[in-house]
C-alpha cells in the first residue's frame, strides 16, 4: 500500500488533488482512498489531504501517519514546522517551485524534486492551480500508474478547454521529471 | 373501552358523541316580548309583526297581518295620531320607524290590488249581532264579529256608513274615495247594512235586544256640549262640529272675517284650516291646552294630532295656547271680540288638577265670530235608559255596561278615546267579548305582555339610517280638497321596513347561529324567517349565554336549568 500526504492551503484545491489521484488509481484498476484532514477548512490556512493506493481493498479508516510521499503545493510550506513528520528515511518530497533545479536533498535527508507547477498552470490553464501538474509529476516519478489513468480521472472532473488544457499540462509536467526515479520507494511497503 | 388507533389519531367530528350540555347551569330559550309599538297601539295592531312581513317582501301577508287587528289601514294610515311612532325604540337610536306611512302604504296597496279580508262569510244559522253606528267603532266591531263567524246587521243613521270619518274629516286629510272603498270592503265582507235607520227614531233598543243575540252601540257623539261664558251666548253662535259637517256635506261655509275657535282638538284644528283655506282673513284657535313640544306632557298637550297643528300654523292659523276665554264682548247680540287670559292646569292637593287663570294677563281679541269646538256628547235619543243623563256611556275597557248584559258600547260614545284607532280598538275588543258572551266562554282579560325596553336590545348590530319621510304638499299649493300628505314609494317602504329593530321578536339575523362557540344553534332551513327556524342543541350547548347577549332583538333569554 502506498500512502501519500498532500500539503497545501485552503482554496488551492488540495482535497481535490487527493480525490483526483485516488480516482486515477481507481481508473487504473487499483483500490484507493482519499480524504482530507478533518475539521473546518479556512482559505489560506495550511491543510493536508491523504491518499491510499493499494492492490487489495482498503478497509481501514484511520489517519495516514507514515506516508511514503509528500506533495507540497508551494515551496513556502517547506518551512512549516513538522512538515516532514512521519516521513520515513526513504520518503520523497515533491515541491512546487518556480525555480528549477535538479533533484536535491532536504534538511532531514529526504530527496526533493521541484517543478514549477504554478508557472505551467498559468501557461496552459491561465490559472494558478498547481495540483494537476504535481499529480502528473508524482505518478511519473513513482510509476504508480500511467498518465492515461490521470487523464481519465481529469475527464470525470473537467471538460472542454479546461480538460484539454489539463491534458496538455500533465504531459508537459511529466516530461519535466525523471520517470521511475522513486519507483523503489513506491514498491517498498507491502501492507 | 376503545382500541387505540395507530399513533392515536381520531376520526372527523367524533367529539359529537360528547354531551357538553352537562356543563350547563342556564339554558337559552326563545322569549317573545311585545314591542312598544304593539303595546301602545289603540287599535291593537302589532306593527312589528306586519313590518316583518314587508321586510320579507310579502306585502299581502303584511296587510293580512295588519287587518287581523284593524280593517281600515288606508284610513288610520292617514288620520291616526300614531302613538306607535312616539313609543318606537328606534326613536332613541336615531328616528322612529315611519309606521304610520307604512300602514298607509299597505292600505293603499290593498285597495289598488283589490285584496279582500282573509275571512269567510258567517253561516246563515250562526247568531246575529246588531251593530248601531257605521263609524270606525261599528265597522271594526262588525268586521271582527264576522271574523269570529257571527252574522252582523249594521244600522246607520245616515245614508252611507263612515260616521265621523265621513261627516267631519276634511278630504285633504282623508280623500272620500279612500273612505268609500275601505268602508265598502267591510260591508262587502258579509254585513247586512241598513242605512237611514236612527235609534230612537226608526228602531228601538228593545226591538234590537229582542231580535238580535247581542247589541253593539257605537252612535258617536251627536250633540255639541253646551257652551257659554258666564251665561253669555251670542245669538248667531255656531258649533264647530256642525260647521265642519255642513262644509263636508254641502261644501259651503258662512262668510267670516275674523274667527276665534275655542278648543284644542282635531275638530278645532280641522275647522281652522278649512276656514283659512276658504279665505277667512284671521283664524284664531284658543285653547287652555299647550302646543305639543319638549317638556309638555301628553295630558297638557292639545289633543289634536301634532302634525296637523304644525301644518295649520304653516297655513297661517294663529294658535293661542294655554289661554282661556274670560269674557265675550257683545254688541247688539253679536260678538265683536273676546277677552283671553293666560291659564295653566296646576296639580292641587290629592292629585286633583285645576285650571288657574293668571290675573294681569288678560288681552282682547277682535273677532266677528266665536266658534266653540270643545267636544261632543252622546245624543241620548233612544238610549236614555243606558245613559242615565250622563254625557257618555259608562263601560269597562271591553265595552261592557254594568247590569246590561248583551249590550256593548264603543267609539266616541264611551268618552274614552276620541280617536279613530281607539274606536277601531273598541270594536275589536267588543267583538271579542260579544263572542265570549254568546259562546259562554271566558275572554282573555288584561293587556298585552310586558313591553321590551330599549336597554334590552343589542344595538351594536344596527347601522344608522334615515327615516323615510312622506311627501307633503307645499302650503301655497294646498286647498281644502287635495290630500296634503303623500305616500311612500315601495323602495322607501322596503328600506324602512329593514330599519325595524324587531323588538322582542326574532328577526332571523343568524346572530345566534353564527356566534355560538359550541356550534349548538342549528338552522332548520337555509334561509330562516323566524325563531321557529332556529333550534338549540341542548346536548352540546354549554349555556355560556353569548347568543342571548348578542341577540339584537332581545329575543333570547337565559333561564335556570330545572
Amino acid at each position: 500500500m502506498t500512502e501519500i500526504r498532500i500539503h497545501g492551503r485552503g482554496g488551492q484545491g488540495n482535497v481535490l488533488a487527493a480525490y483526483i489521484l485516488a480516482q486515477a488509481a481507481f481508473e487504473y484498476g487499483k483500490f484507493a482512498q482519499a480524504f482530507p484532514s478533518f475539521g473546518p477548512e479556512r482559505r489560506g490556512a495550511p491543510v493536508t489531504a491523504f491518499v491510499r493506493i493499494a492492490a487489495i481493498p482498503i478497509r481501514r479508516y484511520c489517519q495516514v501517519t507514515q506516508p511514503s510521499f509528500l506533495v507540497l503545493q508551494d515551496h513556502a510550506l517547506m518551512h512549516t514546522p513538522g512538515i516532514t513528520d512521519g516521513l520515513p528515511a526513504n520518503g520523497r518530497i515533491l515541491v512546487n517551485w518556480s525555480r528549477r533545479f535538479e533533484p536535491t536533498v532536504g534538511r532531514d535527508g529526504h530527496e526533493i524534486v521541484v517543478i514549477p507547477a504554478t508557472t505551467l498552470a498559468m501557461e496552459y490553464l491561465g490559472k494558478p492551480v498547481p495540483n494537476t501538474a504535481l499529480l502528473a509529476a508524482l505518478i511519473t516519478l513513482t510509476g504508480l500508474m500511467p498518465l492515461e489513468a490521470l487523464e481519465k480521472a481529469l475527464a470525470l472532473r473537467f471538460r472542454d478547454q479546461m480538460l484539454e488544457g489539463n491534458i496538455r499540462l500533465i504531459h508537459q509536467a511529466a516530461r519535466m521529471v525523471p520517470a521511475g526515479l522513486w519507483k523503489e520507494t513506491a514498491d517498498a511497503r507491502g501492507d | 373501552m376503545r382500541t387505540l388507533t395507530r399513533g392515536a389519531y381520531a376520526v372527523a367530528g367524533s367529539s359529537l358523541e360528547l354531551n357538553t350540555g352537562d356543563w350547563r347551569l342556564q339554558r337559552p330559550v326563545h322569549l317573545h316580548q311585545a314591542a312598544p309599538c304593539h303595546g301602545v297601539c289603540p287599535a291593537g295592531e302589532d306593527p312589528q309583526a306586519w313590518i316583518a312581513r314587508i321586510a320579507q317582501g310579502d306585502l299581502r301577508a303584511a296587510w293580512e297581518t295588519l287587518v287581523s287587528a284593524n280593517p281600515l289601514p288606508a284610513i288610520t294610515g292617514r288620520v291616526c295620531h300614531h302613538p306607535c311612532e312616539s313609543a318606537c325604540n328606534r326613536g332613541q337610536f336615531d328616528q322612529p320607524i315611519a309606521i304610520h306611512s307604512l300602514e298607509r302604504f299597505l292600505g293603499d296597496r290593498a285597495l289598488a290590488e283589490g285584496w279582500n279580508y282573509p275571512i269567510v262569510e258567517p253561516d246563515h244559522d250562526s247568531a246575529e249581532v246588531a251593530v248601531v253606528g257605521g263609524g270606525p267603532a261599528g265597522l271594526s266591531c262588525a268586521y271582527h264579529l264576522m271574523r269570529r263567524g257571527l252574522r252582523v246587521r249594521l244600522f246607520e243613521a245616515q245614508s252611507a256608513a263612515g260616521g265621523i270619518l265621513r261627516s267631519a274629516l276634511p278630504p285633504y286629510r282623508l280623500p272620500r274615495a279612500v273612505l268609500d272603498r275601505e268602508v265598502e270592503r267591510v260591508l262587502a265582507a258579509g254585513v247586512s247594512f241598513v242605512p237611514n235607520h236612527r235609534l230612537g227614531r226608526d228602531l228601538s233598543l228593545e226591538e234590537l235586544r229582542k231580535d238580535f243575540a247581542a247589541v253593539f252601540l257605537a252612535p258617536g257623539t251627536g250633540l255639541a256640549r253646551s257652551w257659554d261664558v258666564d251665561g253669555v251666548v251670542p245669538d248667531d253662535l255656531r258649533n264647530g262640529l256642525d260647521l265642519l259637517m255642513e262644509w263636508t256635506s254641502v261644501g259651503s261655509l258662512p262668510s267670516f272675517r275674523r274667527v276665534a275657535i275655542v278648543g284644542g282638538g282635531n275638530t278645532a284644528i280641522d275647522l281652522a284650516r278649512v276656514l283659512k283655506a276658504a279665505g277667512v282673513a284671521e283664524v284664531h284657535v284658543i285653547t287652555f291646552q299647550a302646543l305639543p313640544g319638549p317638556g309638555v306632557s301628553s295630558r297638557e298637550a292639545m289633543s289634536a294630532t301634532a302634525r296637523e297643528i304644525a301644518q295649520a300654523i304653516e297655513e297661517g292659523v294663529i294658535i293661542h295656547d294655554r289661554r282661556g276665554v274670560r269674557r265675550l264682548i257683545i254688541r247688539s247680540e253679536r260678538v265683536i271680540g273676546l277677552e283671553m287670559v293666560h291659564m295653566k292646569e296646576l296639580e292641587r292637593a290629592g292629585g286633583r288638577h285645576e285650571a288657574v287663570a293668571f290675573e294681569g294677563t288678560e288681552s282682547i281679541l277682535e273677532i266677528d265670530q266665536v266658534v266653540p269646538a270643545i267636544g261632543q256628547r252622546v245624543n241620548p235619543q233612544g238610549m236614555e235608559a243606558l245613559l242615565a243623563h250622563r254625557e257618555f256611556f259608562e263601560s269597562d275597557w271591553w265595552g261592557r255596561i254594568a247590569s246590561h248584559p248583551g249590550i256593548f258600547v264603543g267609539g266616541d260614545a264611551t268618552g274614552r278615546c276620541g280617536t279613530v284607532s281607539g274606536a277601531v280598538g273598541d270594536g275589536r275588543r267588543a267583538a271579542q267579548v260579544i263572542e265570549a258572551f254568546l259562546r259562554g266562554t271566558a275572554t282573555a282579560e288584561g293587556q298585552t305582555s310586558q313591553l321590551i325596553k330599549f336597554e334590552q336590545l343589542n344595538l351594536n348590530y344596527f347601522d344608522h339610517a334615515r327615516r323615510a319621510d312622506a311627501p307633503i304638499l307645499p302650503v301655497e299649493r294646498r286647498d281644502a280638497a287635495t290630500e296634503i300628505e303623500g305616500g311612500l314609494t315601495s323602495a322607501q317602504v322596503f328600506d324602512e321596513s329593514h330599519r325595524c329593530f324587531s323588538c322582542g321578536e326574532c328577526m332571523a339575523c343568524d346572530n345566534c347561529w353564527t356566534l355560538c362557540p359550541d356550534n349548538s344553534v342549528l338552522k332548520v332551513k337555509d334561509h330562516c324567517l323566524d325563531a321557529s327556524d332556529y333550534v338549540f342543541d341542548y346536548d352540546h350547548c354549554k349555556g355560556c349565554g353569548l347568543c342571548a347577549h348578542e341577540c339584537p332583538a332581545g329575543f333570547i333569554a337565559m333561564v335556570d336549568e330545572p
Binding site: - | T5, P517, Y538, L546
Partner: protein, 330 residues
C-alpha cells in the same frame, strides 16, 4: 339535564347550509372566543384544506383522544413548529400536484413567542400557507401566564399587580409590524366580534398564492376575567376603542383599516375585564396606567387613521350589522 330536543339535531347538523370544519363536543370553556374564531375560519376556508396546529388551548380542547372536533385533516406536532410542519405539508401537496390549501394555526404564545422563528422562515420562503394566530394575549393553556402579546398593565399569573407593580411592565409586541417586514402578499388583523370581516380576510388570505397571515383577536373569558356571554362584547370594544385595530396589509403596507365612527373610551373596554381590575383602584399609579393605555389606543387611531369622517354607526362602517334574514352575514 336531559331535554326533549324538538328536532333530530344530528340530522340537522348534516343539513346546515354552511360548512363548519370545527364541530360541537369540544372542551373549550363556556364562551371561548378561540373556539368560535377557529370555526369561523373553517367556514371561510371550506373543507379542502389541511391544518397544522401548534400546541395550545385549541389543540387540547378539540382533540382529546379518542375524539376530535375537526372535520378537516388536522395535525398537531409540537409547540414551536406549526409553520414548519405546514411548510412541509405544502411542499408535499405541491409535489403531488394537489390544490388543497394549507392553514397553520397557533395561539399568541406559539406565534409571538416560541414559534416566531419558524413563522418568520415560513413567511420568508413564501410558502402557500395561511397562518392564523388566535390572539388571546397570554398563555391560557398553562393557566394564564404573560406572553409578549399580553397588553401593558394586564394581570396574569406571571405579571401580577402588587405593591411594586401594576401588572405587565412591558408593552405588547407589535407583531403586525414584524409580519409586515416580511413583505408577504397579504396580512390582516381580524376580530371574532366581526365574523363577516374575519371570514372575508381569511378568504383573501387563502385566495392569494403565497404566504398570508391573519391575526384574530379572540377573548378568553377565563384569562381575561369576564363572563362567557361577554366574549363578543369585549372583543367588539377592543376594536371600538382603538386598542385592537382591524387592518389589512398588502406587501407590508396598510391597504385598509376599519374606520371607527364612534370611538369609545378605553376604560369601557378595560372595566369589563378582571385582568384590568387593579387599574380601577383609584391609586395614582392606576390612573397613570389608564392614561397610558388610552394613549396607546389613541396612537393606534392616529397610526392607522381609524377615525371615520362620516358620523353614524356605533362601531365601524356597519361591519357585521344585521338585518332580517341574516342577509348581512357574508
Amino acid at each position: 339535564m336531559a331535554i326533549e330536543q324538538t328536532h333530530d339535531v344530528n340530522e340537522l347538523r348534516r343539513r346546515q347550509p354552511a360548512f363548519r370544519g370545527l364541530d360541537a363536543g369540544h372542551l373549550a370553556c363556556q364562551g371561548c372566543g378561540q373556539a368560535l374564531a377557529a370555526r369561523l375560519v373553517t367556514e371561510a376556508t371550506g373543507p379542502d384544506i389541511v391544518i397544522a396546529n401548534a400546541t395550545g388551548c385549541l389543540e387540547v380542547f378539540t382533540t382529546a383522544w379518542p375524539r376530535t372536533s375537526w372535520r378537516v385533516p388536522w395535525i398537531h406536532s409540537v409547540f414551536a413548529n406549526a409553520p414548519a410542519v405546514a411548510s412541509g405539508i405544502e411542499a408535499a401537496l405541491k409535489m403531488q400536484g394537489r390544490s388543497t390549501k394549507v392553514v397553520a394555526m397557533g395561539g399568541d404564545g406559539g406565534t409571538f413567542d416560541i414559534g416566531l422563528q419558524a413563522l418568520s422562515a415560513m413567511l420568508e420562503r413564501n410558502h402557500n400557507v395561511l397562518y392564523v394566530c388566535f390572539d388571546n394575549e397570554a398563555y391560557m393553556n398553562t393557566g394564564v401566564q404573560r406572553s409578549s402579546s399580553t397588553p401593558h398593565a394586564a394581570m396574569t399569573t406571571t405579571s401580577p399587580p402588587g405593591r411594586e407593580r401594576m401588572g405587565k411592565r412591558h408593552l405588547r409586541k407589535d407583531l403586525l409590524s414584524i409580519i409586515a417586514a416580511h413583505h408577504i402578499p397579504y396580512a390582516a388583523t381580524a376580530s371574532v366580534a366581526y365574523p363577516s370581516d374575519l371570514r372575508k380576510k381569511v378568504r383573501r388570505g387563502l385566495a392569494i398564492d403565497g404566504a398570508a397571515f391573519v391575526l384574530v383577536h379572540s377573548p378568553c373569558p377565563l384569562g381575561w376575567g369576564h363572563g362567557g356571554e361577554l366574549s363578543i362584547e369585549v372583543a367588539r370594544l377592543a376594536v371600538q376603542t382603538g386598542i385592537f385595530p382591524l387592518v389589512e396589509l398588502e406587501r407590508g403596507s396598510v391597504a385598509s383599516a376599519m374606520a371607527l365612527r364612534q370611538v369609545r373610551p378605553v376604560a369601557d373596554y378595560l372595566k369589563l375585564q378582571g385582568r384590568f381590575r387593579h387599574l380601577f383602584d383609584g391609586s395614582p399609579a392606576a390612573a397613570e396606567e389608564l392614561e397610558h393605555l388610552q394613549a396607546l389606543a389613541n396612537h393606534n387611531i392616529e397610526l392607522y387613521r381609524l377615525r371615520a369622517d362620516t358620523p353614524g354607526a356605533r362601531d365601524s362602517e356597519g361591519a357585521d350589522t344585521v338585518r332580517r334574514g341574516g342577509l348581512r352575514w357574508a
